[in-house]
């Protein structure tokens, strides 16, 4: 029963990450280089939460993201992040990707997939312009670099929050192949 509300901590940390990314994007607005770090919000629930709790945390994060970002239709991210979370969860437990290197690769790959998906879907409405792939490449490189810098900090922050609020430390919760 102690783990019942762990997903709330996860949502709080995800909202914090989205807010900080938007704050950086606000400053980078002058050079029109937005960062995309949404993939990072999926990884902690995949790694340390049971499936249902992780899914709820991800879907609420998706709604928060949609309400704050310039997404044309509210609810897009609900579908995209829901499918992405389930895919990553199944892949993670099926292939037993438990080493730190796998975690970093998972973060990078998840973020890249989401970044490309969002850019393709949302640009499709207005039609692709000649600079689309140039801009996409710039955003991918910038986001990859920033993820390498912050991913460990962010996962540790969530783990510390769990510890601070008297939950079990996530490292003791790891239950491979336990889709509940």
């Amino acid at each position: 029963m102690q783990f019942k509300f762990t997903w709330i901590i996860c949502i709080f940390a995800n909202c914090l990450l989205i807010y900080l990314t938007q704050l950086v994007n606000h400053s980078l607005g002058a050079i029109a280089l937005p960062l995309f770090t949404l993939g990072l919000t999926l990884i902690f629930p995949v790694l340390y939460l049971p499936y249902l709790q992780g899914l709820i945390a991800t879907l609420i994060t998706a709604l928060f993201f949609d309400s704050t970002e310039a997404i044309s239709s509210f609810g897009y991210s609900y579908y995209i992040l829901g499918i992405a979370f389930t895919t990553v969860y199944c892949v993670y437990h099926h292939f037993k990707l438990y080493s730190p290197l796998h975690t970093i690769l998972l973060i990078q790959f998840t973020n890249l997939s989401l970044l490309i998906t969002y850019h393709l879907i949302l640009n499709f409405e207005n039609g692709f312009n000649p600079h689309f792939f140039h801009k996409l490449f710039q955003v991918v490189i910038a986001s990859k670099i920033i993820l390498l810098l912050i991913s460990t900090w962010f996962l540790n922050l969530q783990a510390t929050l769990f510890h601070t609020f008297s939950f079990h430390h996530p490292s003791t919760k790891k239950q491979p192949h336990s889709p509940k």
Binding site: L52, A70, S72, C90, H134
Partner: protein
């Protein structure tokens, strides 16, 4: 062939239930949900912006008295120029009103200006937006024109009680009717996304083929009264090169916008007056 265990499919079944549930939720509840999430985080951005203002205030306090006296002197000069311009403007307005009465013409659109600070910039490849610190409480309505000292910034997309979202003139979904200086024929302007580190640009379409432009003397693209949201004559950008469109009936060209468009701190919203 061995059967896959049920647990393999269980996550996908749960996900399907959640997605179907969300699809079946009425739009009214979704709108309420969106508004709730937005209102939850909007004060945070207002607070961030006010902290920024406070930071500017304290950095300004560090200026010496000599610098302040010089700034006041420059400001006084600007004020005297502005007062002259205001007086001239009043005379011109009276003149326009007199002609309107004389020829029995409908009155021109007039606007109430509302100055607002920018709290957030979202410059994504699919949309360029600003969040401003004024909303429906200040009389801002969707579709209202947003301008700054050098011309058009964009228009109001969404309005909330104490904040609004501005769609920028460089945003890929942005379209308005415009015209060139000295030519009253309307053309279509639309925003396009550009690579990072480059100047913001737009795209002009349906330009009459008889319009010629010299590369060393770019033509200014200005707003048109068509559409009703923008006053006539506000600068959008400049066009320096023309090329024929695919159909061959019209010309088209890239519009250079102001390079400081994405780093503005303050804008003015023009709220149409109701006659």
């Amino acid at each position: 062939m061995s059967k896959l265990p049920f647990s393999t499919f269980k996550p996908w079944l749960i996900l399907a239930l959640f997605l179907i549930g969300w699809t079946l939720i009425p739009t009214l509840i979704k709108s309420f949900c969106q508004l709730s999430f937005y209102q939850f985080q909007a004060p945070l951005w207002t607070l961030t912006s006010q902290f920024k203002d406070l930071q500017i205030y304290w950095s300004c306090r560090n200026h010496s008295k000599k610098e302040l006296i010089e700034a006041c002197r420059d400001l006084a000069r600007r004020n005297s120029f502005s007062q002259l311009a205001v007086a001239e403007n009043m005379v011109l307005k009276e003149e326009i009103a007199r002609f309107e009465k004389l020829h029995n013409l409908p009155a021109l659109d007039s606007f109430d200006p509302v100055i607002a600070r920018i709290t957030r910039r979202d410059i994504h490849s699919w949309s360029h937006q600003f969040m401003i610190r004024k909303g429906s409480k200040d009389g801002i309505t969707p579709g209202a024109a947003v301008i700054y000292e050098k011309g058009v910034v964009g228009r109001i997309k969404d309005v909330y009680p104490s904040s609004s979202i501005v769609e920028l003139v460089s945003s890929p979904g942005f379209r308005i009717a415009a015209r060139f200086v000295g030519d009253n024929r309307p053309i279509t302007y639309k925003g396009i996304d550009n690579p990072a580190f480059s100047k913001p640009k737009g795209h002009a379409e349906n330009i009459p083929i008889d319009l010629s432009i010299q590369p060393d003397r770019p033509t200014m693209l200005i707003s048109s009264r068509l559409g009703g949201h923008f006053p006539d004559g506000l600068i959008i950008g400049k066009l320096s090169k023309l090329e024929p469109s695919i159909s061959g009936l019209f010309n088209q060209g890239a519009i250079e916008l102001d390079p400081h468009l994405h780093s503005l701190q303050e804008v003015t919203v023009l709220i149409p007056q109701r006659h």
